[in-house]
């Protein structure tokens, strides 16, 4: 009978952790991208797009993620849209995440002093350049800490995908647990994998936050301004 150590180091668990990580990273990247689009729309002042954006955020923040997940996996096929379990999970998690990231990014953008935009406008920068080179880099200081929390939350939320049979860490642990009738060792092994991943994310978050602290950053020597070479429309 295998014990905790065997489970922890088994290929099965490592693969499960890999799928959990892939699910988390994919959903977060798409969620951040979606949230950025929603936040840019919300702060753009384009009237006709406000109501649909609000509706989206209201819908996805107002219903359980588990319901959204099952809806995409089980209800959409009845309407002729079929996705694999993994794809369904990524879609559900990133759609849901977009709604939360939208609010985080919007708050970051709105925290940037209006004078920054005035100064950039007078200098002749285009609106997209102002957003990219002036507003967003400053908004990042407010966006990164809560986004780190979202990453960690997503890592744990991804376990919900086990209900639609995504072969993630939790599902594998449960299957082995019921096969061997050994819930304690299997679930503890899975918990350790989750802890390792969340700890890594926490360190990543801390590193990013420190990197963005201007006063601790290294001086760019001769290459100052090289960052502005792209996007020359």
């Amino acid at each position: 009978m295998p014990g905790f150590v065997d489970y922890f180091f088994s290929l099965n668990f490592a693969l499960g952790a890999g799928i959990t990580l892939a699910l988390t990273l994919l959903s977060m990247i798409l969620g951040i991208a979606g949230g950025l689009v929603l936040a840019l729309v919300k702060t753009s002042g384009i009237r006709v797009l406000q109501a649909p954006t609000d509706l989206y955020i209201w819908l996805f923040r107002g219903t359980p993620i588990l319901l959204q997940l099952i809806f995409i996996f089980n209800a959409l096929p009845q309407m002729g849209l079929r996705f694999s379990a993994f794809t369904s999970a990524v879609i559900a998690l990133s759609l849901n995440e977009s709604a939360y990231m939208a609010e985080i990014i919007r708050a970051g953008i709105e925290s940037v002093d209006k004078g920054q935009r005035s100064a950039a406008r007078v200098l002749g920068l285009r609106d997209n350049q102002i957003m990219r080179y002036v507003v967003l880099p400053q908004a990042m200081r407010l966006i990164v800490p809560p986004t780190g929390n979202q990453f960690i939350g997503m890592l744990k939320m991804s376990a919900l995908a086990s209900v639609i049979a995504v072969q993630d860490l939790l599902l594998r642990a449960q299957r082995i647990a019921s096969a061997n009738f050994d819930y304690v060792d299997t679930l503890l092994a899975a918990a350790c994998w989750y802890l390792i991943l969340t700890t890594l994310f926490t360190y990543g978050q801390r590193w990013l936050e420190q990197r963005m602290d201007v006063s601790k950053r290294k001086r760019p020597a001769a290459a100052a301004g090289a960052a502005f070479t792209s996007d020359n429309r």
Binding site: V214, T229, N232
Partner: protein, 250 residues
């Protein structure tokens, strides 16, 4: 203070600006010639800053028009893109970009808006830093600068776009007296180099030294305008007289 050409570079005609029901500018008209320095004075709340923001295209006027080098100014994006930083502006709160070093602040607009090559922009920025006396701050971040240094960097940043007109919106009002002097000195240098400037300030000694003409505003209206010495020595309007005596009196 070069001799003015005969075509005004800036023509403000019968401008009116309202925020909702509140009229902040009414019937503002003045013009400015190339190389001229105009100082706008008046008590706070008289609409001076709003006027500069309208000239810079940061706000729209409700009626009347502002014409700069044959282009009608508005807050429209297209116009801003076509003017491409030909009007520079200094703000009371400096508004340097805090996430960029001093030299990056200066090079950002030339690189993005004018597509100036890297080396050229770099060399120009270094020259400008020399001009405002801050070469040692090239790679500093704005939070490491004093207010006076920050405003001098902001002057260099504006000059980097080679503007035809520079607007100074109370650039020293957030500064201590000793820091005010270093900024005023740099501003005087800019005026002496022949830049056309429109300055809102309470610094009367600067006005007296630098301004060719002065505009006195109150309650959103121009009460009096004229050559600097005339306005100081022989103000025609009662309001101008009492304002000047208040400011210079002590």
């Amino acid at each position: 203070m070069t001799a003015p050409d005969n075509q005004p570079i800036l023509k403000v005609s019968a401008v009116e600006k309202k925020y909702g029901e509140l009229t902040v500018l009414r019937d503002i008209s003045f013009e400015q010639f190339n190389g001229e320095a105009v100082v706008i004075v008046g008590s706070s709340g008289s609409g001076k800053s709003t006027l500069l923001r309208c000239i810079a295209g940061l706000e729209d006027v409700n009626s009347g028009e502002i014409v700069f080098c044959d282009q009608k100014i508005s807050a429209d994006k297209k116009l801003r893109y076509s003017i491409r930083g030909q009007i520079g502006m200094l703000f009371q709160s400096f508004n340097l970009f805090p996430h960029l070093t001093v030299i990056e602040n200066i090079m950002l607009a030339p690189r993005l808006v004018r597509h100036t090559p890297q080396e050229e922009a770099d060399a120009r920025a270094s020259d400008l830093l020399k001009k405002v006396g801050l070469v040692d701050k090239t790679y500093s971040y704005p939070e490491e600068l004093s207010g006076g240094q920050a405003q001098r960097v902001a002057i260099a940043r504006a000059l980097a776009m080679d503007p035809k007109l520079m607007l100074f919106d109370e650039p020293t009002s957030a500064l201590d007296p000793e820091l005010t002097r270093e900024v005023l000195d740099v501003m005087l240098g800019v005026v002496e180099d022949g830049m056309t400037v429109t300055v809102v300030t309470h610094e009367m000694s600067f006005a007296r030294k630098a301004a060719d003409r002065m505009v006195f505003m109150e309650h959103g209206k121009i009460v009096e305008q004229g050559a600097t010495e005339d306005l100081f020595n022989n103000p025609q309007n009662e309001r101008t007289r009492s304002f000047l005596s208040q400011i210079i009196g002590d």
